[in-house]
């Protein structure tokens, strides 16, 4: 447990002494700020229209602002996650520091969880930037906070799964760019797997849609905590971390 924290702390430090963290956070803040502005704009316009129509309908902030924005974060995350994980092991392999970790009295799994957790912390910090925007909604409106909290939980679970996959891919190469590009490819694939189900209701389309990370975010964005979806994300996390540990082990037997 202590070792996990030692590794995690070191990784968080290295995110924040290099420009990586600042770059990601700034980019996210700008992109999400734009989404937020756009969304609120749309909400206002819709509100105005509903009043003009003579039969004013109460519009839910949760429904019209928070929910689409949460889905947006989920998609934007797919682009940011490779940048968070590509370094984790590729850099250690390139610099030879993996030898230090491998010859210290610390288990592989502690290194892996420490590193994965540090990426998750960075993602969490990134989510905080979106929370600043949401705070305005609470100041000027009266949205329900519970769906938002569940949405954030879903985002963390989803990111956890993708970060675990990214961590695994990072053990496969010494080259950060390759690790990043491959992770991006996998993230993108896991997103678009859901598309065929839009027009096709066959078994294969269903299977593919089930494998897609986006499908499972739907319930979370609605503020529904569905065990089935949570289990999916947790399995992806376990799968990713398990593959990482296998990959690290095989590194030793092979090289």
């Amino acid at each position: 447990m202590r070792n996990i924290w030692v590794i995690c702390q070191k990784e968080i430090n290295s995110y924040f002494v290099s420009p990586v963290a600042y770059l990601l956070l700034t980019m996210f803040a700008i992109i999400f700020g734009f989404f937020f502005w756009n969304s609120v704009q749309y909400f206002n316009a819709a509100g105005l229209q509903s009043q003009m129509s003579g039969q004013p309908m109460p519009l839910s902030v949760n429904e019209y602002v928070i929910r689409p924005l949460l889905s947006n974060i989920s998609v934007v995350g797919l682009f940011f996650i490779p940048m968070m994980t590509m370094r984790l092991f590729a850099e250690e392999k390139r610099m030879g520091t993996i030898e230090l970790l491998a010859t210290s009295p610390i288990r592989d799994i502690e290194v892996i969880i420490g590193k994965w957790l540090s990426a998750l912390v960075l993602y969490g910090v990134m989510l905080l930037f979106s929370a600043i925007n949401f705070a305005f909604l609470f100041h000027y409106g009266n949205p329900d906070w519970k769906p938002l909290a569940i949405g954030y939980l879903g985002l963390l679970l989803q990111a956890g799964g993708l970060l675990a996959i990214g961590t695994f891919i990072s053990t496969l190469t010494k080259n950060q760019i390759i690790a990043g590009a491959a992770t991006f490819g996998v993230c993108l694939l896991l997103w678009v797997l859901e598309w065929p189900s839009g027009s096709d209701s066959g078994t294969w389309a269903k299977v593919l849609a089930y494998m897609s990370v986006i499908t499972h975010f739907d319930s979370f964005s609605k503020g529904v905590l569905d065990t089935k979806d949570a289990v999916y994300y947790i399995s992806v996390i376990f799968l990713g971390l398990f593959l990482t540990s296998r990959s690290l082990e095989s590194l030793r037997w092979r090289s």
């Binding site: 070792n3 030692v6 070191k10 430090n13 290295s14 002494v17 290099s18 610099m95 030879g96 520091t97 993996i98 030898e99 230090l100 970790l101 491998a102 010859t103 210290s104 009295p105 610390i106 288990r107 030793r252 037997w253 092979r254 090289s255």
Partner: protein, 333 residues
């Protein structure tokens, strides 16, 4: 402290280490010597539990590297060929991090970091980024990292590679000063380094252990007899080198006298003894009693380099002219 038996490591196509067996006693400095690609690094990686052996066993401080890797790892400090440093960390931060990895914490760790930084002469750069340091400093940070938890066994892979001559001497002194408390294995392909630092040598070539002995014995073994270099000068007037040579040849136990140089009334000879005979005293007496000056008398120990070439089958290489020799010959022709 370290016992290795029948250690073998196979990679996909190559046999990197081939049934090596040796033993290192507590407090010794052992030099691991061999040409590049001989299997030094592989053996060290097995000892540090970085790689598993394909066959055979290795134990460090009584713990098997495969069965109880955690116990082994707790007891070794390892400096790989490239120091495993994080460029974005400061020296002090890095040493603290490594200390924590090795299971240290709190005030004792802080004290130890200060102590080790001073011992390895990196205290003056402790708040600099490692990425900004010169190679020499980085190497010493690597060494500091290896000894931070005061391990029983230190494994150093080419600790002086890439350093300048002054740093090499400092690093060797540092390593020597660590002996006694620590058992040290260091690998190198630089022969004088072994002669100067180590007590015991393991020579490895193409994955096989070709010799294991003390530095002193290895040199003796290669020749089996004493060999000295003499410089003799006539006291008044010119002195014929031939006369001296004849006199030296009559000294008891001398097998061969070679005139190496004659200039300005000074002659330099190389004298070899018969096997197991000590001739230095007799030689000195013979010269002084003949009324000549003995300017110099030193043992010309066969350098480890020659032993090494002999043992690793480098004779062939020695027969071929080196680049310089080839150049000189070319010029003459």
């Amino acid at each position: 402290m370290i016992t290795v038996q029948g250690l073998t490591k196979r990679y996909a196509r190559t046999l990197a280490v081939d049934h090596i067996s040796f033993e290192v006693k507590k407090g010794q400095i052992v030099g691991f010597l061999g040409p590049n690609g001989a299997g030094k690094t592989t053996t060290m990686r097995i000892l540090t539990c970085f790689l598993p052996p394909s066959e055979g066993t290795a134990t460090v401080a009584g713990f098997d590297v495969l069965e109880q890797p955690m116990e082994v790892k707790r007891r070794i400090g390892y400096l790989p060929e490239t120091p495993p440093v994080y460029h974005e960390m400061e020296v002090q931060e890095y040493l603290t991090f490594v200390g924590k990895l090795k299971g240290m914490s709190g005030q004792s760790l802080a004290n130890r970091v200060t102590e080790v930084a001073e011992r390895c002469a990196v205290a003056d750069v402790r708040s600099k980024l490692i990425g900004k340091l010169s190679k020499g400093y980085r190497q010493r940070v690597g060494l500091a990292q290896a000894i931070i938890h005061n391990p029983d066994v230190l494994i150093l892979d080419e600790p002086t590679a890439g350093l300048d001559p002054k740093q090499i001497i400092e690093t060797r002194d540092l390593i020597r000063s660590l002996a006694g408390d620590h058992t040290i294995i260091l690998s190198t392909h630089i022969l004088p380094e072994v002669e100067q630092t180590c007590e015991q040598v393991l020579i490895i070539n193409k994955g096989k252990l070709v010799a294991t002995d003390s530095v002193h014995n290895l040199q003796a073994r290669a020749r089996g007899a004493e060999s000295v270099v003499l410089e003799v000068e006539g006291r008044n007037g010119s002195l014929d080198a031939q006369t001296i040579q004849h006199r030296l040849e009559t000294v008891n136990g001398v097998s061969r006298v070679l005139l190496k140089e004659f200039r300005d009334n000074r002659s330099v000879f190389e004298v070899e003894s018969l096997k197991d005979r000590f001739i230095r005293g007799d030689l000195a007496r013979a010269i002084v009693e003949s009324g000549w000056n003995l300017n110099e008398l030193r043992p010309s120990a066969m350098s480890l380099e020659e032993v090494f070439l002999q043992l690793t089958g480098g004779e062939k290489a020695a027969e071929e002219p080196t680049v310089e020799e080839a150049l000189v010959q070319g010029e003459i022709q």
